[in-house]
């Protein structure tokens, strides 16, 4: 059976991302957390003092690498295009709510796949919520939801977000004393800095080239019955599954999974919120970082929303932990779902307009 070059690239790229994720865990990252955009942005928020949860503070080099990798490869390939101005405040809010949903589940959509490949069945519940959230988002997209046109912007606007990441790297390398580093908990579990940075750079390059997106894969199946983009997440899942089985770290079940909440209802609703926001934003948290690296300042706004959302999630006790979800988190997820649906309805336009 012949497969398209796009699918082939996604399968190869996804497999490489899977291998790198396994290597990151072997070298020190928390289990089932080779990559997690939500967790790593949350850790970075803690490292710069935006929240005070002592166990999740570390300026993750993977995030810096992802943005800079996408930035450099888009420059080389002539795809760096500073663009923006498409409802920046709504994108900021959607980014923040996407993070609240992800931290209720305890992982971004990428980590959801990674957790699933480790045998964590809580992630299956999260996946169901994520798919439903994207389904709801597709309903709004097909019925008039739009954040408006983006416009070309100046070079300075486009490079600001990648340059901020580069500055954070300089601080991490040369003046780490002004950052906060967790001494215990997930934030203290880290692979060597230069390996993590290189991993981020490589995955940033790959994700930019093949348009890796966890939400896009599901969205394209729902909207077009197109199975191209889903090849990326599928390849990640299979590669990590094989890696976990080979190393004896595959553990099937709901209980006792690493950095996972056992609350099924809130895992479902958290990822429902995350999926809905990702569909309306046009991409999962990983995709937002990559697009921001390509000069898309709308996505940079979503990334800043994720950063602030992560800070609030810990300052206000919204984020779940291994012990389960929190009452504050429940209120935030319900409020987030209502707020995002209201925003989506407000942004709907008529088909004949």
């Amino acid at each position: 059976m012949a497969i398209s070059s796009e699918k082939r690239n996604l399968l190869i790229g996804g497999a490489i991302v899977g291998v790198i994720s396994v290597a990151l865990v072997v070298l020190g990252n928390p289990k089932n957390m080779g990559f997690c955009i939500a967790c790593f942005i949350r850790d970075t928020a803690g490292a710069v003092g935006l929240h005070r949860a002592a166990v999740v503070q570390y300026a993750r080099p993977e995030i810096i690498g992802l943005v800079l990798g996408a930035f450099l490869i888009s420059l080389i390939k002539g795809e760096f295009k500073p663009r923006g101005g498409s409802s920046p405040m709504i994108r900021f809010a959607l980014g923040a709510f996407m993070m609240v949903g992800a931290l209720t589940f305890l992982g971004c959509p990428l980590r959801m796949i990674i957790r699933l490949a480790g045998g964590d069945l809580n992630a299956l519940v999260g996946l169901a919520g994520f798919v439903c959230g994207i389904g709801c988002g597709c309903y709004f997209l097909n019925n008039g939801f739009s954040l408006g046109k983006s416009h070309n912007q100046g070079l300075g606007e486009g490079v600001t977000f990648p340059v901020l990441q580069a500055l954070l790297l300089v601080v991490l390398l040369f003046v780490p004393s002004i950052l906060i580093f967790s001494e215990k908990g997930p934030g203290s579990m880290r692979s060597p800095l230069f390996f993590a940075l290189a991993a981020g750079l490589v995955v940033g390059v790959i994700a930019q080239r093949i348009r890796m997106c966890m939400a896009g894969g599901v969205r394209d199946i729902i909207l077009f019955r197109d199975f191209t983009l889903i090849c990326g997440p599928l390849a990640i899942f299979v590669t990590i599954l094989i890696g976990n089985i080979a190393m004896g770290s595959f553990k099937l079940g709901f209980a006792g999974q690493p950095v996972a909440s056992p609350d099924g209802v809130w895992n479902f609703l958290g990822m429902l919120l995350c999926g809905l926001c990702a569909a309306l934003l046009g991409g999962c948290p990983l995709r937002q970082l990559i697009l921001a690296g390509e000069g898309n300042t709308d996505s940079a706004m979503a990334c800043l929303g994720m950063l602030v959302g992560a800070a609030f999630a810990h300052n206000w006790g919204l984020a779940s932990s291994g012990d389960g979800s929190t009452a504050h988190g429940h209120v935030a997820v319900i409020f987030g779902l209502i707020a995002v649906v209201v925003l989506a309805v407000i942004q709907m336009k008529r088909k004949e307009a």
Partner: protein, 80 residues
């Protein structure tokens, strides 16, 4: 009859374009944008027509035609 591929500023722009062309009896289908045309993962409309200029192009970013393995641009919005 030629097969054109139109890209848009937003998904809903593609939905409206598809809606208009179907009302005009033109064969049109929505698909993911091919990687060769864009690094974004938006929606494109593939339609069959003698002319590319068939309806309101307000939301259209570009219109392309594929010849052998190459995409040729036949229209690009002047808007930034």
């Amino acid at each position: 009859m030629k097969e054109y591929t139109a890209t848009f500023h937003s998904h809903f722009g593609a939905v409206k374009f598809n809606h208009n062309l179907k009302r005009m009896g033109i064969t049109c289908a929505l698909r993911p944008v091919p990687r060769a045309l864009s690094s974004s993962c938006g929606t494109c409309a593939v339609f069959e027509s003698e002319e590319w200029n068939v309806t309101n192009l307000d939301d259209v970013e570009g219109i392309y035609i594929k010849e052998k393995d190459r995409w040729l641009s036949v229209y690009e919005t002047s808007e930034n």
